[in-house]
């Protein structure tokens, strides 16, 4: 059975063997997605996650279980990404709004199933591109909250705690973000085709 996050963080704090690696494995993908929301670049996001995890390890003794460990980790990562963005602004090498590298939106090699029809694959890729544009067109606050909810898999209460704001603020930001994304996708011409999904929506 998978260990509870608080218990795992306690093990990390007490340097129990394998605990930090387990924490890294548990959080790295979710943190990568959050980092991508700030940095918009695959490699930079991977590096940012690694650097944030190093900071988490160095600060493990100061962690207090008043916040969920992922909330704490997400704050450290967000601070780190904001620093990187400030650094980029002071030494610009590329525009923050520039389109991503050619490879960013291509389908992953081992996800390209031979069974999936070519057209469905293209539609899925196109949907990903449009969604990314829609998400990055949101105001910063709304975007961060949307990313935390969808890609950080955080509950609304956790987001409020992480950002130090009221639950109502999170709800209204998410409300606006969701409506904006729906409108963005709805205004696409030709209309977006959604892949068929199993089961009910969340």
């Amino acid at each position: 059975m998978e260990q509870d996050d608080f218990a795992l963080m306690d093990d990390v704090k007490h340097d129990r063997e394998g605990a930090f690696e387990a924490l890294v494995r548990r959080y790295q993908k979710r943190l990568y997605r959050l980092a991508f929301g700030y940095l918009r670049n695959h490699e930079d996001s991977l590096d940012a996650v690694q650097e944030a995890m190093v900071k988490i390890y160095l600060a493990r003794g100061a962690y207090r279980p008043t916040a969920h460990p992922f909330t704490w980790a997400a704050r450290i990562l967000a601070n780190h990404c904001i620093d990187l963005l400030r650094h980029r602004r002071s030494r610009p090498t590329e525009s923050l709004d520039a389109p991503q590298g050619e490879g960013e939106d291509r389908a992953p090699r081992h996800l390209v199933s031979q069974d999936e029809p070519q057209q469905a694959r293209q539609e899925r890729r196109e949907l990903g591109r449009v969604l990314k544009r829609a998400i990055f067109s949101l105001p910063a606050n709304q975007r961060e909250i949307f990313m935390l909810r969808h890609f950080g898999e955080m509950r609304l209460e956790e987001i409020a705690s992480a950002r130090g704001c009221a639950l109502g603020t999170v709800k209204s930001s998410l409300h606006r973000a969701a409506a904006a994304i729906r409108d963005y996708l709805g205004a696409c011409d030709p209309p977006i085709k959604y892949p068929a999904r199993e089961g009910e929506a969340r």
Binding site: F20, K29, A62, N79, P108, L111, R163, G164, G186
Partner: protein, 285 residues
Amino acid sequence: MMTPFGCGRARRAMPLRYYSALPAEDGEALDRHLASCPSCASDWEALRHALDAADPGTVFPMEAEVDWDHQARATVMRARTAAAAGAPSTASQPGPWRRPWTTLVPAAARWAVLAAAVLIAVLLVNGWPGRRAAGPDGVPSPSASAGLPSDESVRESAALIENRLARRGATRYLTDSRVLLLNLVQAPARCRKADGEFDITFEKEKSRELLRRKNLHEGNLDTLRDRRLADLVGQLESLLIQVASLGDCASARQIHDLREQIEKRQILLRIDLFTREMQEKTHVV
């Protein structure tokens, strides 16, 4: 009784319903409205489709290409190296989406303030140099001066403190450099960007930091007047400059060359001997 939803209110309630943040009563009213209004029902479907599609697999296709096992191992190794090198923690209790104040004050400045505070405290306890309790005619009274240390002893104790701080600084600098070099030649992380190369981003950054520290403490190291130390620090500096000037990914050949230089000059052994000696002297002092 709940008032029925109009189209405008229904549309506003939809995102909250999606995130399960709508009160149950409003949820029922929304369901009733959707059952009777094809236009809102179609809007609700569009919203659900759009938000359902916002999943990591669709938005981050590159995520599936990452070797997460390797990434986790490299992260753990990097964290342990940083901890072994005594890197300062800057993220203990970060404010919400803000930087902690400690990052605003460089580590060197914090050490300088601490050293100055220790020195002032000692001088206050021992008496400020040149200041003496004076008699009514301005001549130091024999009883007062007998109870205070002489100028010479104050100078001696200040020199001792300075010497001890310099030794500690040198020991820490050498230990950190040793950890860095050890990690670089014994367990370099594989580079994600190029096959067969090694990711030395962290080591490069650390080398630069060590070079900055060396420049900062150069005067302190000189106070030790130790030719062996000066020689060792000089050779170490040349190695650190080499590491700092490499690319983010180093080839196996470059790592091999560094290893050869370190072995040839017996840097690790010399640092080990020197730091032990320093530590013993610090304890004796």
